[in-house]
């Protein structure tokens, strides 16, 4: 059974170290050491004040000087001991808890520790403080779940020992002990769930602390980089220095770049092999943006400059320069100048003998067409000769394009694929980057902010891959820190502000109110269709509070009903109310997709067709996608949409995944319109028709059951009657008045005038559609005439009566 022995030699050393390494003792001992040495010299070596012709010879010389020397020496020895042996007390020889506890834990435990007494002192250990700060494990939280019984300490120690072994930690630190206290509580999972954490997160946290501690230690270590005469044997590069950045120089300071991906380590090995043997002296790092191409080059540059790394002499202290394509192109004004400049730069790099040239985004140097640059003619002989080492970076697509245009060039490049990182690797990379980010922005990141960055970036950032996209979001979130702490909320804010979306609609009181009154807001701009509006509102409320499948669109609705009854208007209203703008409506007329070949047009890549469905959603994922007259689309088109409805994902022609998971998808159809009208006219309740109408549409072959089944809701829209039309007149007049507002003119319709307009605009088959035309013909023309004739000026209210219509 494990029990803490406060009288063990390690515990005593830890307590002694606390005093001896404290600032007051260090200052006092330094002063005493200096004073003692001066006193020693003064008393032992001082000359007599009066040597000759003195009545009494006077001198300060005294053997007491030896005492000062002894005291100074002793203090100096104690200082050395305290720093080396007592600060981080070395591990004992056994696996006993007393041999593996960290020094500051032994101090914090005191003489008769209990789990609860240690909880109160968690802040006194470095890793405990780290855990509190990053994981929000407060003193109160820990005190609440920690046992008060001293005998429970032995089971805590046993758990701590297991955790230490699991994460391969050197000592049982405060963080491990805190984790063990939590793990020992029978309901720890429930407690941690309240903090949105799991026990494995805390273990990761302790591992993270140990890793960062190691990084800081290595950063403080002197890095040997060849010294002052390192570059004496290599040439000057005045032109290259103007147009390139020396990565090796930049990376020679600060902590070393950490490589967590085994694939990246393999790539660095491949680069070392390619550059140390004969043959083609080039590497083409081909991978998507954000996959870590730059990190690989940074790590490679550091390795070449590290005197302690064993390398062939032909690679030792070689420096990587990244060419600045923009600076080069902007300096070369006339045709041919760029080629001349490149020749000078390449000659310098070759003559200097220690340069590895990196062409980042190399496709920029091999582009065809007006205003673009192609220096393959200049580079080809150099690549062929293999006398200058070159690194190219580009994405797969660009590499394929170059291969298609210039297969000779592509064949001569040593292509190495850089794959995106997975979640565990991305988390490690983010954890490593925390220190520099915190230093840069003066903030502290919580662990959950890192997890959230991964989750949200995967979903909302499409122009980069992991780990770049998560790091990018994490850095953005630093600008949204509250009290200098970056939390989940900060990460969400960063996404919301940069992407213009609401991640959790029901956060603020205003948002909650808006969602609760969704029907009211929608009815401000559309009349009737209460059932359809309610169905849609309910679905959106469920989505807003997270009661939905995150791997599907926010909502998928099929609106069925006659023309002009408000199907499109409801879609527009949703865009306005839910996404705060009618601009967030992506509308596709499906009668343009009546052939099977039209599928290609639907999912065309953005660079080929910016109006395709996938291109529009990629640009604007937070939208209402309105597929008008869906019944007219070709069955192949509907089959393509099945995956979209099911998984919220559609792949475009370039095989890019386009997410519809933040969109509301609405398909409208006039199918069954006649039946709906007849049903309503016969005075029956529309709700009873839905099932039979769906069956009829399936039997008639208009829609396949698998297509209809994939919608969250199928809403039936009833035809509008005269009373509804009258309300629509009010709405249209309201919008006319809004248009006239800048001119301070308003329009008022008498009740009789409204009746006339309703009579003229009523068409059971066309719904509200003719009404707008009628008002345009009558009211708007009337206003225009009055303004031109001078009868209506600023401040006028035009009252329209039946005789004016």
């Amino acid at each position: 059974m494990d029990s803490f022995n406060p009288h063990s030699i390690r515990a005593k050393k830890a307590r002694a170290g606390k005093i001896l390494n404290s600032a007051p003792f260090r200052i006092l001992s330094t002063v005493l050491i200096i004073f003692g040495l001066f006193a020693f010299v003064f008393f032992i070596f001082s000359a007599p004040l009066c040597k000759t012709n003195c009545a009494v010879e006077f001198t300060f010389r005294s053997p007491v000087g030896w005492i000062f020397l002894a005291v100074s020496t002793l203090l100096f020895m104690i200082r050395l001991w305290a720093k080396d042996d007592c600060d981080r007390v070395p591990l004992g020889k056994t696996d006993n808890i007393n041999d593996i506890l960290s020094a500051n834990v032994m101090i914090a435990l005191g003489k008769s520790p209990t789990p609860v007494s240690f909880s109160g002192k968690l802040y006194k250990t470095r890793s405990g403080k780290f855990l509190s700060l990053r994981f929000n494990i407060t003193k109160d939280f820990l005190t609440k779940i920690a046992s008060e019984l001293p005998e429970d300490m032995s089971s805590v120690f046993a758990t701590a020992r297991e955790i230490r072994a699991e994460i391969d930690a050197e000592v049982v630190s405060g963080g491990i002990l805190a984790t063990a206290i939590i793990a020992n509580h029978p309901n720890h999972e429930e407690f941690l769930r309240g903090l949105k954490l799991e026990l494995s997160d805390l273990k990761n946290g302790v591992d993270w602390y140990n890793h960062l501690y190691g990084l800081v230690k290595s950063a403080n270590k002197h890095r040997r980089d060849g010294g002052i005469a390192r570059d004496f044997s290599f040439g000057y590069i005045p032109t290259l220095s103007r147009y390139a950045v020396n990565i090796s120089e930049r990376r020679s300071r600060g902590p070393k770049t950490q490589i967590h991906l085994s694939s990246h380590r393999e790539i660095i090995q491949k680069m070392l092999e390619a550059f140390s043997k004969g043959g083609r002296q080039n590497i083409a790092l081909v991978g998507p943006e954000g996959s870590g191409r730059s990190t690989i080059i940074d790590a490679f540059a550091e390795e070449l400059m590290d005197a302690d790394v064993k390398l062939p002499s032909s690679l030792k202290y070689r420096q990587i320069y990244t060419l600045d394509a923009t600076a080069l192109i902007s300096s070369a004004g006339e045709r041919g100048q760029l080629e001349n400049l490149m020749t000078i730069v390449l000659n310098e790099a070759y003559a200097a003998k220690n340069i590895i040239l990196c062409l980042d985004n190399a496709q920029l140097f091999f582009e065809e067409g007006v205003g673009s640059v192609d220096i393959s003619n200049v580079l080809m002989p150099i690549i062929d000769a293999g006398q200058l080492r070159l690194i190219f970076t580009m994405d797969e697509q660009k590499f394929l394009e170059i291969s298609a245009r210039n297969s000779t060039l592509a064949n001569k490049l040593n292509k190495v694929v850089v794959d995106p990182a997975n979640e565990a690797e991305t988390m490690k990379i983010m954890e490593d980057n925390i220190l520099s980010l915190e230093n840069k922005y003066g903030v502290t990141f919580e662990y959950l902010a890192l997890k959230e960055s991964y989750r949200l970036s995967e979903r909302y950032i499409h122009d980069l891959v992991m780990p770049g996209r998560a790091l990018n979001l994490l850095e953005s979130s630093a600008n949204y820190a509250e009290n200098k702490i970056v939390t989940i909320v900060s990460v969400k804010s960063a996404v919301e502000k940069t992407k213009g979306v609401r991640l959790s609609a029901a956060n603020s009181e205003t948002d909650k109110k808006e969602l609760l009154n969704l029907e009211e807001k929608i009815h401000e701009r559309m009349i009737d269709q209460t059932e359809a509006v309610k169905t849609v509102s309910d679905a959106l409320r469920r989505a807003a509070v997270g009661v939905r499948n995150e791997n599907r669109p926010i909502g998928t609705f099929l609106f069925l009903g006659p023309t002009g009854v408000g199907k499109t208007e409801l879609a527009k209203s949703l865009a306005e109310v839910y996404f705060h703008g009618e601009n967030n409506l992506i509308r596709l007329d499906m009668n343009e997709f009546i052939n099977s070949t039209d599928v290609a047009r639907l999912i065309e890549e953005g660079k080929d067709n910016s109006e395709s469905l996938t291109a529009q959603v990629m640009k604007q994922p937070f939208s209402v996608v309105l597929l008008d007259e869906i019944e007219k689309a070709h069955p192949s088109v509907l089959t393509t949409l099945l995956q979209l409805l099911d998984e919220g994902i559609l792949r475009d022609a370039g095989n890019h995944e386009v997410s519809f998971r933040d969109a509301i998808l609405i398909a409208t159809s006039n199918a069954g319109a006649e039946k709906i009208r007849e049903y309503v006219e016969s005075g029956k309740n529309l709700a009873n028709l839905k099932e039979s109408l769906i069956n009829e549409m399936i039997h008639s072959g208009q829609f396949k059951p698998e297509f209809l089944n994939r919608f969250d809701e199928i809403c039936l829209f009833s035809p509008l009657g005269k009373s509804e039309l009258r309300q629509i007149v009010d709405l249209i007049i309201k919008s006319v008045n809004k248009t006239l507002e800048p001119q301070k003119i308003s329009v008022e319709l008498s009740e009789d005038a409204k009746d006339i307009l309703v009579e003229r605009g009523y068409d059971p088959k066309m719904g509200a559609r003719p009404m707008r035309r009628i008002i345009q013909k009558t009211v708007e023309n009337l206003v225009a005439r009055q303004v031109l004739e001078g009868d209506a000026s600023s401040g006028t209210t035009i009252k329209i009566t039946p005789d004016m219509l």
Partner: protein, 125 residues
Amino acid sequence: MLIISFFKWWYTRGLKNYFLKFFDTLKNAADFFSIRLLISNFFSPFRQISAEKTTSLALDARIRAFFDYLLSCVIGAIIRFFILVIGTVVIIIQTVLGLICGVLWPLAPALIVYCFVLYSKGIMF
């Protein structure tokens, strides 16, 4: 107990760590003055000033290039020589001081006792 632990550390890990740090300091100094590189490249041209290839040039140009190269090597050797001398002196001083401290290290506890003996006997220089 703590005192025994102190002396144990002083004559084992303390002494070992001292020498490790001492050798590390020497390595850092050798790296700072690029001693190894200066020796291996002693006669290399300085900064590759005359690195152009001369095979396609006329004879007089080739002769001029050869002398440029020679001059560059001489300049390189002179600069390297001076840095080598300075570096060597610094390393020698560090070595001597380090070794003196290394010798004094095991004697330090005895020195304290010896100081008290000298005091008690009233011995002076």
